[in-house]
């Protein structure tokens, strides 16, 4: 029921993507805006992919930084070795991220808070392992990548295509019979099994897809920033970030995480410089408000406002008729 787009929605989305694609050329963006938009596209892709698991299946992962970091470091190593051109190295990072996500299989027997707590533990273990695995990640001093400035500039578009592709995939997944089965698992895993839906299979499948996309996102992120360290890519903040973006935007809605990611990136950038402590407090407050009053986040707020406007209009026209 959630996630019907109004008619012309697809055209609107395509227009928005086209506008953003033309922006660097037409508007002559400052490096700061260029940076901010690229980061926003990457976070949109990551938040949407997180939402497949956290929103569609209802398994809230606090460990997605693992796949983000693995994608980032695997692609970085491949770029450094010069064995593959950058785009192939990114894809390889995504694939390894997807395979790594399959490692969640035993944890996916757990549901709800038990699963979430397990992902926190595994996420922290992974952060420590990769921090101490200096020959691969460079330890706490990280890795610097020789990224060509032209490639860095072009990463704006690569990131945009990724975000647009993942958004389209989110929409299709939600509308497909796969999406129905995920919702069935989310609402009643036993009743779903009693009509033939294997929660084990679909959870593994979606976690793998989600991990591959997040890995790919991490790979683009690594190349764009050209310097990566385990504390950033594998950090708990990173995992929490995916959760926050999806929850702020609207958990389980196909496009909500886009809004959430944009708000997240903008708030973070604008507050990080001036009030570095404030932004975490603000997220915390926002999260409490959303969970208490509007479980569908900004999307829910938007739907509620639209309903209110419609009702006001209806009552006004009724008054005019009378």
């Amino acid at each position: 029921m959630i996630g019907r787009i109004p008619r012309g929605g697809a055209a609107g989305c395509a227009a928005a993507v086209a506008l953003l694609a033309a922006a660097p050329v037409v508007l002559d963006l400052t490096p700061y805006s260029h940076n901010l938009l690229t980061l926003a596209f990457l976070m949109i892709a990551g938040a949407l992919a997180w939402n497949w698991m956290g929103g569609y299946v209802g398994q809230v992962s606090f460990g997605h930084a693992i796949m983000f970091g693995i994608g980032g470091f695997v692609s970085a190593r491949l770029v450094l070795s010069g064995a593959l051109p950058a785009p192939l190295a990114w894809i390889a990072g995504g694939l390894v991220g997807g395979v790594a996500a399959l490692g969640a299989h035993p944890m996916l027997r757990l549901r709800g808070p038990y699963f979430s707590i397990a992902t926190i533990g595994v996420g922290e273990a992974a952060r420590l392992i990769f921090t101490y695995w200096e020959s691969f990640t460079g330890g706490s001093s990280g890795l610097s990548l020789p990224i060509d400035p032209i490639l860095k500039y072009q990463l704006y578009w690569w990131s945009l295509w990724l975000a647009a592709g993942v958004a389209a995939a989110s929409w299709l997944m939600r509308r497909s019979t796969l999406g129905l089965q995920l919702l069935a698992i989310k609402s009643d895993v036993e009743a779903a099994a009693d009509v033939g839906v294997s929660a084990t299979f679909y959870q593994d499948l979606v976690f793998c897809l989600s991990g591959a996309v997040v890995g790919l996102t991490g790979a683009l992120y690594a190349s764009y920033f050209a310097y990566i360290e385990p504390a950033d890519l594998f950090g708990f903040d990173r995992s929490i970030g995916f959760v926050l973006m999806a929850v702020i935007g609207g958990l389980g809605t196909p496009f909500g995480p886009i809004l959430g990611a944009v708000v997240f990136v903008l708030l973070r950038q604008s507050l990080l410089a001036t009030y570095p402590q404030l932004y975490l407090g603000l997220y915390g407050g926002l999260l409490i408000v959303i969970i208490l009053f509007e479980p569908l986040g900004l999307t829910g707020l938007g739907l509620r406002t639209a309903r209110l406007v419609r009702r006001l209009r209806a009552s006004r026209s009724a008054a005019r008729a009378a």
């Binding site: 019979t177 129905l180 919702l183 036993e190 099994a193 009693d194 009509v195 033939g196 839906v197």
Partner: protein, 242 residues
Amino acid sequence: MSLLAVRALSRSFGGLRALDGVDLALAEGEILGVIGPNGAGKTTLFGVIAGSLPPSAGEVQLAGRHIGGMPAHRIVRAGVVRTHQIVRPFPHLTVLENATVAALHAGGRASGPAPSRAAEVLEFVGLADRADRLPGTLTLAARKRVELARALATAPRVLLLDEVIAGLAPAEAHALAALIRRIRDERGASIIMIEHVMPAVMSLSDRVVVLDHGKRIAEGTPAEVVRDPQVLAAYLGPGGAP
């Protein structure tokens, strides 16, 4: 040969033997009633046959194929599906979507796209006009039909009905009993039904099995079973028989 054969099936919960060596056979095209006092192990029997609970001992065969102990989703694909005593529709999916999820798992026994097969099932159970509603907006009687539609959408060979009639007003109960007979006659499903509503069990069942304390205490035609002294004792207590 029987379509579904249950042999010496047992299931314990800690020290409690909820099912204790139950034998049961269902013939193709048969409606088998399962009755027994509360706590007799009827729902546990369904849980074990449908794969929601692994058996502690014993076996289940569908047309000669071992299905005992398989996970529920594979048993559905093999052709055995259950409904729940307390209906469990997926609340955020429309009635049609509820049936569609199930229709995806017919295991090759039906052809055509799942949504159109689901729509056909809704037509059959009389919910076609409510296909786009959410289950929460329907009456209990209609939600029982959603539960039935979802099970039927998997094109079952064996349908396990857990008290679908109980709790309904007489008119609805009659309509649902007629629907159960049509499921057997028109859709070719063989049925085991647990039911407390005696007139329904007696008129629908070809045979009745009586469980008490996890054991099968009687079996026969409805008329035979109600005269069985052991059955009367189980329901009314020893010495309760006239």
